[in-house]
Symmetry: C2
Subunit: 233 residues, 2 copies
DNA sequence: AACGGTAATATGTAGCTACTTAAAATGTCA
DNA sequence: TGACATTTTAAGTAGCTACATATTACCGTT
């Protein structure tokens, strides 16, 4: 039986985490240099580096070259959300997935859409409206704009068969993704589409993606009443 | 001038990312071993390891010891959310922060609360209702339960002065945090508290935290009409 | 005191070696 | 054939060195 007296970087991380939460270091305080911590804990600097990287990832500390490491002045609760392809989401919940293309049209993007992309000059886009179904019942309403300059191939995709949602996720990488969540009351049209009552509170997920600064798509996902979005773990 | 022909791990990451998206490797496919990729790209295995770690973090690939690396069979859009302390959120938006404790009472947790913690036996908890204000106008309604077994010190905190939100984030680390987002219609009480109309669609954020399996707190954060939650970057 | 260039420094990255560990693959025996 | 033990494999971790890079800190000049 071998006692593992090697320190895992997670142990180092938790050690520092604990020191911060014990009040030894408060928000904004500067922590010792990696090398000193390594010395103190009798491990390699690379181990401390990994630990610190992780603490930085979860938002507990801020690191800057030469500036050193300091406790994040405004602690946050950081969470990770996984938004699956809608078909997978439905199937995972045990439903039979269905999909209806409502409309598809090339047109110049209105100002609200340009705003979502932080653009000012008019751009030609493909507007798509589609309904995702679970066991033949409405599940999600998708209101999407795809930038034709960035993704001309979308013209060749048969969106009656494959949803733009799925095609884009599988074929278009993005370098930036902005998400926005809010609640709205169902209007006449939404309530008809989603089988909800007018005035029902609906969760709306707005997502915009870019590749190297070029807009790809922006989509409003309108969920059915009672829909809940959960963090991954 | 020195040409940096060293490969940064980000370059390696993007290279692999590109290979996946080009269709060379599809969902579920197994990628070459780290060592082989390192050989092929003429870099160290540790560099590939770092690149792969990152791809695994963003959910593009799955890695298992001995099993190797494979493209995630169900690609997801992974996003990071930062939920700040409410006071900081208000102040960042330029508002003057205010806070009102509505009620505070020790009692046995009802079943709905126990369920949020995946508990079955009754537990004594502190129930807190509080209102966060921005420029003297309602901003957020907080409906919280704190587990007194896990956090007995909360009894000594003057919650009329400091919000439980802030005290907990600053003083209680957690090892698990579940978040849940959904929309509700404002009822009589909420509309009065938040200055909304009855039936207004409100975004609700539910958060439960644990430390090493022991429940800390669960809170329902009811936002004012029009509130939007955004991803960090 | 303001400005600007230079040196100092803490973190970031890369490469190498060695060892650990989870789990898949294989072999053995009933 | 099926259950179980063993081997092998590929990722994970740790330690070391060397160098890169972004800032801060310092100092001299005007």
């Amino acid at each position: 039986m071998k006692i593992t007296n090697r320190l895992s970087w997670k142990y180092v991380r938790d050690e520092i985490h604990h020191e911060i939460l014990s009040g030894r270091y408060g928000p904004g305080d500067r922590l010792p240099r990696d090398a000193d911590i390594a010395n103190q804990l009798n491990c390699a600097r690379s181990t401390v580096q990994r630990a610190m990287q992780d603490l930085s990832d979860i938002g507990l500390v801020e690191r800057r070259r030469k500036g050193g490491t300091r406790v994040h002045p405004e602690p946050v609760t950081r969470a990770t959300l996984d938004i699956p392809i809608t078909r997978h989401e439905v199937e995972k919940k045990g439903g039979r997935y269905g999909y209806q293309l409502i409309m598809q049209e090339e047109m110049s993007a209105p100002r609200t859409v340009l705003a979502a992309f932080e653009l000012t000059s008019p751009v030609s886009m493909l507007r798509i409206e589609a309904l995702h179904l679970s066991d033949n019942r409405p599940y999600m309403l998708e209101d999407r704009w795809v930038c034709l300059d960035t993704v001309p191939e979308i013209r060749d995709v048969d969106l009656k068969i494959q949803s733009a949602n799925e095609w884009l996720v599988l074929n278009r990488p993005y370098s930036r993704c902005d998400l926005r969540f809010y609640a709205i009351s169902a209007d006449q049209k939404m309530s008809e589409m989603l089988g909800a009552k007018i005035g029902d509170a609906l969760l709306l997920i707005e997502r915009s993606t870019w590749i190297d600064g070029a807009p790809i798509t922006t989509v409003k996902t309108i969920t059915t009443p009672g829909y809940q979005l959960l963090t991954s773990s």
